[in-house]
């Protein structure tokens, strides 16, 4: 699953950091476990808490509207890429990417 974790260029390594960050706190419901987006069933609604991917991919996902705090709805999740509705748009995410996006059920 950790594919792409080495994506960050040497000079700018993404560091692991807690979701509660200064300046852009994402409300985290206590007691709700963090689960990868790829594990959600179709129809599930959730809030993105954290993206554990390389810098380039994280930024691209965020620019496409998928960022900590975003509310998402899983439209479909079978064997292929997932379909996710976020901010009024439908995104298709490969399973590898979806497994790097961590969410809490809403």
């Amino acid at each position: 699953m950790g594919r792409g974790s080495g994506e960050g260029k040497g000079y700018l390594r993404a560091v692991e950091y807690p979701a509660e960050t200064i300046g852009n706190e994402v409300e985290r419901l206590s007691g709700q476990p963090l689960i990868p987006l790829s594990n959600l069933p179709p129809g599930a609604r959730a809030v993105v808490i954290e993206i554990r991917a390389g810098r380039g991919l994280t930024r691209r996902l965020m620019e496409m509207g998928l960022l900590p705090g975003s509310e998402i709805t899983v439209l479909s999740n079978s064997a292929g890429p997932l379909l996710v509705s976020v901010r009024g748009v439908t995104l298709s995410l490969g399973r590898g990417i979806a497994s790097k996006v961590f969410v809490q059920l809403a």
């Binding site: 560091v15 950091y17 852009n24 810098r55 292929g80 890429p81 995104l91 399973r95 990417i97």
Partner: protein
Amino acid sequence: MRRSSQGDEIVVALVANPNVGKSTLFNTLTGETAHVANWPGVTVGVNQGYVEHHGIRLKIVDLPGTYGLSVGAKQVAEAITGEFIIRHQPDVVVVLADATALERTLYMAVLVLELTGRVVLAVNMMDVAQKRAIHIDLDGLEGGLGVPVVGISALRGIGLGVLLDRILDVAQGRAGRRPLRVDYGPLEPYIAEVERLIRGCEALSGYPPRWAAVKLVEGDEGVVETLRRADPALLKRVLEVRGRAEGELRAAPEEMMVQARYSLVSKILEGKVKVTRLASLGLAERLDKIALHPVVGPFFSLLVLFSSFIAVFAVNTGSPVDMLLDYLGLHGAAELVGEYSLVSLISGLFDSLAGLIGGILLQSDSPGWLASLLSEGVVSGLGLVLSFLPLVFTVFLLLGILQDSGIMSRVAVILDRFFRRFGVSGRAVFPAVLGFGCNVPAILATRAMDDDRERIVTALAAPMIPCQARLIVTVALAASIAQTPAGQAAVLVGLYAVQVALYLLTALVMNRLIFKTSVAPDLLLEIPPYHTPSLKVAWWYARTNSLHFLKKAGTIIFGANLVFWVLLHLGPEGFVEGAEIPATSVGALLGRALEPIGTLFGLGDWRVMLALISGFIAREAVLTTLAAVTGVGDPLQAVSALGLTPAQALSLAILSMAYTPCAATLAVIKQEVRLVGLLIKQLVYQLTVAVVLAATVYWGAVILGMS
């Protein structure tokens, strides 16, 4: 006017996320004046066109759809957009947003506003929003953003007059604002520190200082790279600040920045968008239930793709409709369909033109070689190039429609699972389907892939898909392989199956050989809602791509045809000609020299080898050359005149299917891949595969007693 205005012209740049309708707006505004233009410092040609409003000429520049804004040498959409806005300082930047996904598409507006305040926000798809009962307070939005906001429908041409009015307002200084200063909260001290550090830095002097500092703290690759090249020591100090921000705030600065921009968007949008009732998506939703169903979806996708392309190829080449009619016993109708297809009309036209010119020249005193060169070398070469054109054009027209309607991205999603096994994503389906018609548009279609590895691998594998020309050759050979129609059909289907398998395997092999990996890139794409495709956009898309093909590949096909004329008509004794291809021509000598290789797969006959060489120009030339060397007019009879055994015919059929891509295909591969080394590897690889396959099948057949 100041800035980049040329004379009285006002330069307007169009910026938007993909799928927001930017091409539609561009085409509706500029119409027939649209063309590809090169701007200094912008690495790819961008579309531009003109529109006149209140007697003022506006030059509209259509920048590629992008989700971000950057600079730097990398040829990506976000860099092109950023470079253009910074270097060429357009008088007005029109940011196009989507009324049905306002929050996401306004993010782009914030990115642009950080650079320049000379912005007009056009909110597109107001008609769709209205249907879905989404109400947008445009005036409130204008107040929040500080720049003109106009609601439009690019597809229906609504609101464009007002949009042009507001563009003029900004261009003439009646509206607009200073660049937007996004509050990055706890990051501000670090941004200020970087701004102080880079003050006076020559390499960054072209960029607004605050913007450059934000981008550096954000870790933008383009700006970081620019500074690295100019002043690595300074970059180190800048990155030290960034590192400190990351450590002290315990967060990645770029994430905080995207967050900050999105919170600004939410703040601006607060109370400006109201949905009065829950929209029922109806048809689109029901369609997606089928198109994206895990089991039914793939079949549905293939059905849509193949029926569309069969229609296109029937118009162009007649097949497979003519073959079907033939099979049903309607031979007359079949012939008619074949004869009146675009390709045969064009080649027929050029054949008679070539004959006419040859005849005129022969009657005059000019030497025989000149008549032959002009008619066979030049005119028929032009005909060859032009006969590809309708196919290329209509395929792109269809592709444009499929893309614009939202069908394409769904097909890519649903077939992704299957293609991943071969190290490519679902996007590899488009080149494969197009390839059955002609490999040229198939390779051009790989341009839509944004993963470089996937794009190259698919372009190199695409020639394995058997095109229509190869089908024609194989059909002619089938009669020599099997006696019964059923047997011939089985041979055809078998050969097709082998080629499709080779396409997938080649993708896998190229991934392993060139990139040492077989992990498919993960799909990440936006699925646009279904909408009525704009014919204007599709038409323009097809026109641009066809012209591009004419310029680049056309010259190579034409040149190859000339070279082949030389091969057939020049020999040690000078110019030679005759009803048959002269045995003393360079081509014949070449064919003889290749006989030993031919014996490897049972085809040690110079006539066959020469035919295979000519198949490199265009695959159907295998048949015309065979007709010429045997002196028999009809290709089918020419094949039987060769007296091939079934094993030999099978070997030749496999070779004509699989050996080197034709000149046109190679030309576009070179145009798209741009690495000659890879091109040579591809050639060697495909030749080897074809020869090994043909030899194995030939000797296998001989052992089984098929000779």
